[in-house]
Structure formats: structure tokens, C-alpha cells
Amino acid sequence: MVIVLPASVFEDDLPNFLATIWHPVEGETLSFDFSRVVFYIPAAVTMLIARIDHARRVGLPGELLGLKECKSFGYLQRIDFFDQLGIALPEAFERHDSGTAFVPLREVVPEPVSLRDDPLSSELAKCVANADSGDVYLLSQYSLGEIIANLKQHACERGFVCAQYTPKSDLVRIGLADSGIGIRQSFRDGGAPKYREEMSDSQVLELAMSLWGSSKAHRVGAYGGSQNRGVGLTITRFMVAESYGHFFIASGRAWWFRDGLKPPVSGVFSNACVQGTVLSLGYQRHHVTDYSKLRAQAWESLGLTKPQTDNTLFT
């Protein structure tokens, strides 16, 4: 089977794109035809590499076709798309430091809990904010920190993250995808009390995005009580909406999308099933003006009043 990849993928195209690349495999091979590919947002890039990574991991033979004709071949090489798949291809350009123009596609590996600094979120945030301080930097750093930690905790397989800033549209875009166990299986494995086997994939998705919705929030592990209150995704989603940004998530047969403060839309893939979890979020820099206020507003919207903590605790 050959999947012919579309020319471009923007936010609105993500459900159709996922339905295309996760269409049930017909035959004993799976190849991807890149000949028409021109522009993909970061989320689409991560979704595609996660899909190919999955095919290779399960031993499905196949090829990447049409690379010579692909208009974004050089770009895909430059962001290490093929390197991350272990495919060495000759490069017709000289590599220079990308500065803050873009950051290569990064692998996110599930790992045992450790006591160490993880600079990936900060590095990507610096790229999209073109600074290492300020509201856009802090919001990006927060969002990346939460979604990367989620992947590490829940996916059980490696995933990929990509971030970009497009000056023309003033858009910061972040994409993250894995082809791991997916949200439903994470709830199953975690024995999450709110999870029911009869839930649809859409309901499972809603549960994952709800406050205290973590599949592991109730667990007492080797390090005592819960390590996760299940709030990161909820707060991220709120802050992105308040910044008039977009938020997309899909896992299994369901997807969910919200553009700014418009009512969310969701759907079910009729003939596809996304292995793992994929996320796309984005916002225009000029809409992100007060990160501290956004964080406090997010909690207020979830029923927590303004912080009341005793000032004598601070020295």
C-alpha cells in the first residue's frame, strides 16, 4: 500500500491528514509518497514521523517515495526528519547554526523518573519566542514542559516534538506526536477510577482533558502519593484559548479541536485509528501579553479563587 501524502497540512487539515496516514494498511507493505509535499505545520511533521516510526517498529516493510520531487525535501533533511528515522541521505547543502529560526525535530524518550534538569522545553521556547524571557517564552516553555512530560509518562514509546515561529502570520506552532499506547490504554494501565471500558474514544479524550483527569492522579507509587494531578493539559488548553490560539488533540478514533474561544469541534475517524497521541497547539505572539495573569485566570476558571496564601511563607 502506498500513502500519497498531501501537498500541505495546516490546522484545519489535521483530521483528514491523520485519517490518511492511519488508514488501515492494505497488503503487506506500507510506503509513503512525498512527491507532492510542500508545507506541513510542525504538528503534521511530528504526526508523519510518528506514523513512519510505528510502521518501522512493527516491522512493516516499505519505502519513502518521491523524495527527489518533494519541494520540502531539503527542509525535512535540515530538521533531521530522516536522521531521526535512522535513514542516512546525502545532503545537497551545508549545515549552519539555525539560530532561533527553527529547531530540528526532537525525539522525546520515555524514561524512568530522574532528578535532573531537562532543557528541551526551554530550548524550543527560546526558538519560538526569539528570546529567553517574556510572556511568549514563558507560555511556550510551560506548554512544552507539560506536554513533553505527559508523553514521557504515558506513551511508553518514543515520540517527537517540533516547534516553529512564522513571522508572516506571527504564529507560534508546537507539535508533538507519539505512536505509543494512546490515551485509552494509559487509562486502562493506570486503573484510572473515572475511566470506564464502555466509554467512546471521544469520551476518553474529554476525560484526558478534564481537570484531575490524569490516568495516574490516584496512584501511590514508589515515591509516595500521586505525581500527577492531571491539570497540565487542562491549563495549557485554557491558556491557549485565552490567547486566541488553537488546540488539537487526537488519539484512537477521536479528535478534538478548538480555535480560540470559538466552540470546540470534535469528530471520529470512520476508517482510521491513531496509534498513540498527537497534539498541536499554536498562538500568535502578539496575543500573549500577560503570562502570570493567564495562569491565575486558568485556575480561576477551574473553580479556584485567587491565591490566598499567607505572605509570611515567603522570605
Binding site: 523518573v113 530522574s114 532528578l115 535532573r116 534538569d117 531537562d118 532543557p119 522545553s121 526551554s122 524571557s133 514563558l138 516553555q141 510551560y142 514542559g145 507539560e146 513533553i148 512530560a149 514521557k152 509518562q153 515515591y223 509516595g224 502519593g225 500521586s226 505525581q227 500527577n228 494531578r229 491539570v231 497540565g232 491549563i235 503570562y291 502570570s292 495562569r295 491565575a296 485556575w299 473553580g303 479556584l304 479563587t305 491565591p307 490566598q308 496564601t309 499567607d310 511563607l313 515567603f314 522570605t315
Partner: protein, 102 residues
């Protein structure tokens, strides 16, 4: 007697990973609290923190040892943002405790 934990030396300027925070709380901070030592969390150089980290470290401490808010813990060198985020984590822990009691 006080024990100071300088967070930026362990986790950098961005406190992000809740799993790491949980290990840190369980293996280093809580043992100090149980011996009656006042714990000082020093945020010098820290510029941002996820809710996962704040809830795992600060929320976990307040939830498991509510008495520390009466002199058993100090938050040092918090900038205005970190002050807000620490306060949020404390309030979330209180909310969670109330939910469990209810």
C-alpha cells in the same frame, strides 16, 4: 534549624517535570520535614514552573504535611510570578484535601 534546597541547582531555571519533583519531595524534602527541620525552598534564579511540578512538590508537601504551613516551610527568593505559582500550588493542595474530606 533549617535545611535549604536551592531548586535552580537541581532543576535549572524552569521547574518542569512533575515526576522529578515527586522523587525529590519523597526522597529529600519529606525526610527532612519528618525530623522537624524547617524546610526552605530557595527559588533564586527560577523563572517558571509547570503545574505538574508545583503540584507534585509543593502541593504534595502541603497535602501530606498540612502543619508545615505553620512555620515548617519557607519559600525564599520568589519573584512575583513564582510567588503566584507557589500560592496556586498551595491552594490546589488545600482544594484537593477538601475534596477528599468531602
Amino acid at each position: 534549624m533549617k535545611t535549604v534546597f536551592k531548586l535552580s541547582e537541581r532543576f535549572g531555571t524552569f521547574l518542569s517535570d512533575g515526576s522529578s519533583a515527586n522523587v525529590f519531595r519523597f526522597t529529600e524534602v519529606e525526610p527532612a520535614i519528618t525530623t522537624g527541620i524547617t524546610v526552605v525552598l530557595d527559588f533564586e534564579g527560577v523563572t517558571n514552573m509547570t503545574d505538574s511540578f508545583g503540584n507534585a512538590l509543593i502541593g504534595g508537601l502541603v497535602h501530606n504535611h498540612p502543619e508545615i504551613l505553620k512555620g515548617g516551610i519557607e519559600f525564599k527568593n520568589c519573584n512575583p510570578l513564582m510567588r503566584t505559582l507557589v500560592s496556586l500550588a498551595i491552594d490546589v493542595a488545600r482544594l484537593m484535601s477538601r475534596k477528599q474530606v468531602a
